[in-house]
Amino acid sequence: MDKAINKEKIEHLAGLARIRISSGEEEKLTRDAENIIAYFDELRLVDTEGVEPMIGGTDKFNGVGEDSRDEELLMDGSSAFPRSRDGFLEVPTVMKGNKSDL
């Protein structure tokens, strides 16, 4: 049977999650993942025919607020960004090419 997890899949998943992992980490992760997923497979034994999934932590409906500005929350959020310059947040260039082309 095709194993749910192997080294190539761990590499692929790490890529999707945008995490760079070393080959040593990859081996340990694969071993641990095999054990953990084998444990998850126990859920197959549970009969869930006709059971509605529980979504979220509460049965309560989502609260709806007024569509207004929360004045108290107006803040300088620059501390949530590692770089800023002249009052602007600095992020890397995402569009390549000459500035004159833009």
Binding site: R18, A33, Y39, F40, E42, P53, M54, K60, G63, F81
Partner: protein, 475 residues
């Protein structure tokens, strides 16, 4: 000043009665925190400057006859995944080692209004992922009762700080036992309220459908006093609620029925110390007149697998935001390539356990596996919740152990993630169901390793747990 026997009520009484000042109390706790921290590592940072400003403010109010809040002068430790404006907030992670919070969590605003004095930010497993506080980028926390043992986790710093008189009370967060298990391991009280009872605004999300902020104290009444200040609906957390609470009639213990779920007492699951201590606790309640009744929570054995699937999935989405563009950037990174920034920031900034959970969360949500794991777990979660609802038709509360063992040794489980996950076996079902639960130290274990018992209540019946817990302490 001897702080060992202080409680929140005594602090308030002493400050108002002029026996001592808020400044004297604060100085005492800061001094203990500073002298014990090199060994215990309970705090990531001690906020010495703001401590004395806040204490002076309380003393000024008392001197001028102004009213002070419910927690006036109470020295507290705050888990380092809860934001305090202008202070560093690391969540125990290297990726946030330089991050400074831009706003206050709702619970912090409420604590400050009530006069609490925040001594420091408590150490924790990275992003609250762990059961021993050995996964912190700032080093492990040691158990004040036996420094060769773990304090439990992930709120190990909060529990250790209270146990070692480095704070009188503390806040933690509990996603699968992260308040209750460290409370049990350190011999203090820890409360995980009903999901929705406390605003999560300003706590770093780990698994949003399971996370809940709660309190630690040396006594049930202290944990309740903190809970009383932080509870309630908050417009900034749409899952929070002001659902009315109800109370058991504790004047007549014979009207109280305590359930013992069979699945939590399977022979061979508990170590000898825990088994004896929990057995004695049941007898104590029985002698007080309460009815004891066996119940069944038939899906309990699937709770741990169900919990880890749902939590991994939510972790993988919640932690995507730590991408190097926001919050942090590796300082010596020489690239301006976007993908390279993502890969390097996360690869170098996250620890092993965090990577493991994000990658496995990505797996259970991925096409081809989603239905078999994530969707299946959501259905099993419903069955687990239904089990509790069924049991609560016959009983008022449930009594169980918190952990199958007494505190284990540092390093004992760090190499085997499955062994570590197993220590959460009695605490995760509560978060899946969203019900409240409190961990209370079993009495009479002076000189021995602590054991905690857990009282689990119906949704929004948090007060029942404080009432019954406090009754036990008075026996």
């Amino acid at each position: 000043m001897d702080t060992k026997d202080l409680t929140i009520a005594k602090v308030k009484e002493g400050i108002l009665g002029g026996d001592f000042s808020a400044k004297e109390i604060a100085a005492e706790y800061v001094s203990t925190a500073k002298s014990k921290n090199p060994e215990l590592n309970a705090y990531i940072s001690i906020l010495e400057e703001s401590v004395f400003d806040a204490a002076a403010d309380i003393d000024r109010k008392v001197a001028s006859g102004e009213t002070v809040g419910a927690l006036a002068g109470v020295p507290m430790a705050i888990k380092d995944n809860i934001l305090i404006k202008g202070e560093k907030c690391t969540a125990g992670s290297k990726i946030l080692s330089d991050y400074e919070a831009a706003y206050n969590a709702t619970v912090i605003t409420k604590l400050k209004e009530a006069g609490a004095i925040i001594i420091g930010k408590a150490n924790m497993d990275e992003f609250a992922m762990g059961s021993s506080t050995e996964n912190s980028a700032f080093g492990p926390v040691k158990n004040p009762i036996d420094i060769e043992r773990v304090p439990g986790g992930s709120s190990g710093g909060s529990a250790a700080a209270v146990a070692a008189d480095m704070a009188l009370a503390a806040l933690g967060s509990d996603t699968g036992g992260s308040i209750r298990q460290p409370a049990a391991f350190c011999g203090v009280v820890g409360m995980k309220p009903t999901y929705g009872k406390i605003s999560r605004f300003g706590v770093m999300a780990m698994a949003s459908s399971l996370d809940q902020i709660g309190s630690f104290g040396k006594t049930v009444r202290d944990a309740e006093a903190v809970y009383g200040v932080i509870k309630g609906k908050d417009k900034r957390d749409s899952t929070s609620s002001d659902e009315p609470e109800s109370f058991l009639n504790l004047g007549d213990m014979s009207s109280v029925t305590i359930g013992l779920p069979d699945e939590y007492f399977v022979p061979g699951t508990l170590d000898a110390d825990t088994e004896t201590a929990i057995g004695e606790t049941i007898k104590d309640f029985e002698r007080s007149g309460a009815k004891i009744k066996k119940v069944s929570l038939p899906h309990s054995k699937y709770a741990l697998a169900c919990y880890y699937i749902i939590m991994f999935a939510e972790v993988s989405t919640n932690l995507a935001r730590f991408d190097g563009i926001r919050y942090s950037r590796h300082s010596d990174l020489k690239t301006d390539d976007l993908l390279d920034i993502y890969l390097s920031t996360k690869g170098e900034g996250f620890g092993d356990e965090v990577k493991r959970r994000i990658i496995l969360g990505t797996f259970v949500l991925s096409s081809g596996y989603y239905d078999a794991y994530y969707a299946k777990a959501q259905k099993v979660r419903k069955l687990i919740k239904n089990d509790f609802a069924e049991a609560f038709k016959d009983v008022d509360v449930l009594l169980t152990p918190v952990s199958p063992t007494v505190p284990f040794k540092l390093g004992e489980k760090t190499e085997d993630p499955m062994a570590m996950y197993m220590s959460d076996i009695f605490t995760v079902p509560i978060n899946l169901a969203g019900v409240p639960a409190i961990s209370i130290p079993v009495a009479g274990r002076e000189g021995k390793l602590p054991v905690g018992f857990q009282l689990i209540g119906k949704h929004w019946h948090d007060s029942d747990l404080f009432g019954l817990g406090s009754y036990y302490e008075g026996l």
